[in-house]
Symmetry: C2
């Protein structure tokens, strides 16, 4: 199977597949005579795993660890659990953070009654944090991406 076919089967762009290979998530496949990458079933499985994990928000390093662990079936799954639990906690924290933003934004927007910019509630609140009801995240808080 060539890279385009693998991409179609896993809903992954060709460039993304090459990127995963470059960063060591997907092992380099055999090559054809014409230097095309040639994938087998195992690659479809591995890439599906990767995509699924990405869809759940795991980052590349975490996925690398998970794949390494999956390749050692005799080990205890403690570490797997630790990674998944840690990620779950990060997701929960981020939701909490976004909830704070949501509340404050809804309050700002809800108080807009039209009119001139000069008396715009949204701009007033942005200009003065003291007008905030909740203590939302400080600027620059990195959000999970």
């Amino acid at each position: 199977m060539k890279i385009g076919e693998l991409g179609r089967r896993t809903a992954t762009k060709v460039e993304t597949i090459r990127y995963y290979e470059r960063v060591g998530l997907l092992p380099p496949p055999e090559r054809t005579e014409g230097n095309y990458r040639s994938y087998a079933k195992a690659h479809v499985q591995r890439l599906s795993f990767i995509r699924h994990a990405r869809g759940l928000g795991f980052d590349i390093a975490e996925i690398r660890s998970l794949l390494d662990l999956a390749d050692q079936p005799e080990r205890e799954c403690e570490e797997v659990d630790r990674i998944a639990t840690g990620h779950l906690e990060a997701v929960e924290e981020k939701i909490a953070q976004l909830e704070k933003m949501r509340r404050e934004l809804a309050r700002m927007v809800g108080q807009c009654r039209g009119g001139r910019v000069a008396s715009c509630h949204v701009l007033e609140v942005l200009a003065d944090h003291a007008l905030c009801s909740t203590d939302h995240a400080p600027a620059g808080t990195p959000l999970l991406s």
Copy 2:
């Protein structure tokens, strides 16, 4: 006021302030004889506005628009409202997405009963999306950052 003092007053790193100037959020201040940036009160206000908006998750382009609008006090605040509402909706969508992740992660983790990697539920689910209860976001969905 020099850049370090401005940073202290607004809880902003010096490099970040220079970055905001470079991308046109913060107007270039006067310079001293020794070529140091020299800020006045208006800059503190503007930077506070920027930091507050960043804290609420607005991106640089949105903040630039909001600042432009704030500089035209006679205009209707329609556009301000549109930007804020649009951002609120983006935040809500993202929360919904993270909720899906959270549910699926919690289910995965909750079913882990220890044991060997070979029979690890977390890895099984990641290897087979069909084992997911919910239809969480596909891989590669860009999350608001």
